[in-house]
């Protein structure tokens, strides 16, 4: 097959959207994703450069920042994802394009906390996990990034190769919660 015949497919193509009980799962398209890893001692300089270029700084651990569609998402020690914008010139950091590396879904609905409680070993209830809070943790057996996007909405990111497992795990948990209501 020649390159001209290749078709671009999103990670969850053919898997989503879906609605199970009161929970809806949709794939989202955050746009360009760049991993930003500041070099030693460059954290502040990188954050200032990001802020002046795009209006969002380097987020604190467990937090995300957003200005319109441009977001920065903390994803680990000394690492954040810049989403929704091309990466500016950041001499103080290693910057890696990961746009096609992540499967990103949004899960919404009143019982969403109950659904995620079956999969994620972190307390995601609103009392401790506000909008904008993010956690690098497990979802089932996968490492995942979990971010609250609203009162009953979470964004979940896993590596692209795990998209099918993510959708299956979420659907299974949502079915179990729906069966009890």
């Amino acid at each position: 097959m020649s390159v001209a015949n290749l078709v671009v497919l999103s990670p969850c193509d053919g898997l989503l959207p879906g609605t199970i009980g009161a929970v809806s799962i949709t794939e989202t398209t955050p746009g360009r994703i760049t991993a930003i890893l500041p070099f030693k001692g460059q954290d502040d300089a990188v954050s200032v450069a990001l802020k002046s270029a795009l209006g969002v700084g380097f987020p604190a651990p467990g937090r995300s920042q957003a200005v319109g569609d441009v977001r920065t998402l903390w994803v680990g020690r000394g690492e954040a994802l810049l989403m929704g914008a091309d990466c500016p010139d950041l001499p103080g950091a290693a910057c890696v394009d990961q746009s096609d590396a992540w499967a990103t879904v949004e899960i919404t609905g009143t019982p969403v906390e109950e659904v995620l409680a079956r999969l994620v070993p972190v307390d995601l209830r609103a009392a401790t996990f506000d909008p904008g809070h993010t956690a690098r943790t497990l979802l089932g057996h996968m490492t995942a990034s979990v971010t609250r996007t609203g009162a009953s909405a979470f964004e979940i990111m896993v590596f692209r190769s795990m998209a099918e497992t993510l959708v299956e795990n979420l659907a299974h948990a949502a079915s179990a919660v729906a069966a009890r209501s």
Binding site: P61, G62, G76, R77, E79, A135, R136, T137, T143
Partner: protein, 88 residues
């Protein structure tokens, strides 16, 4: 068992991988001699009480931690970033 990750907060043990005693951070000088290197590589205390271990937060932030716990009571009393410990 939960480990208080300095970056992520208290997290379940399943997110972590155990490496071993935190004496791994006290690497002898290259010319410290055979006795010091033999001790560093092979000899470990087996305390009944407080111990300090290296844990890797592999399913979380990816940081190496020095975790203080009690082998008798199983109480975890603290955790700090290994990079902080190693540079102090």
């Amino acid at each position: 068992m939960r480990i208080p990750c300095p970056l992520c907060g208290p997290r379940d043990r399943r997110e972590f991988a155990y490496q071993g005693a935190a004496v791994m951070l006290d690497r002898p000088a290259p010319d410290a001699g055979d006795a010091a290197w033999d001790d560093y590589l092979h000899n470990r205390a087996n305390p009944c009480g407080e111990t300090r271990d290296l844990w890797f937060h592999e399913a979380g932030c990816g940081a190496w931690l020095v975790v203080t716990r009690d082998t008798a009571t199983h109480e975890v009393t603290g955790a700090e970033l290994a990079e902080t410990v190693a540079s102090s």
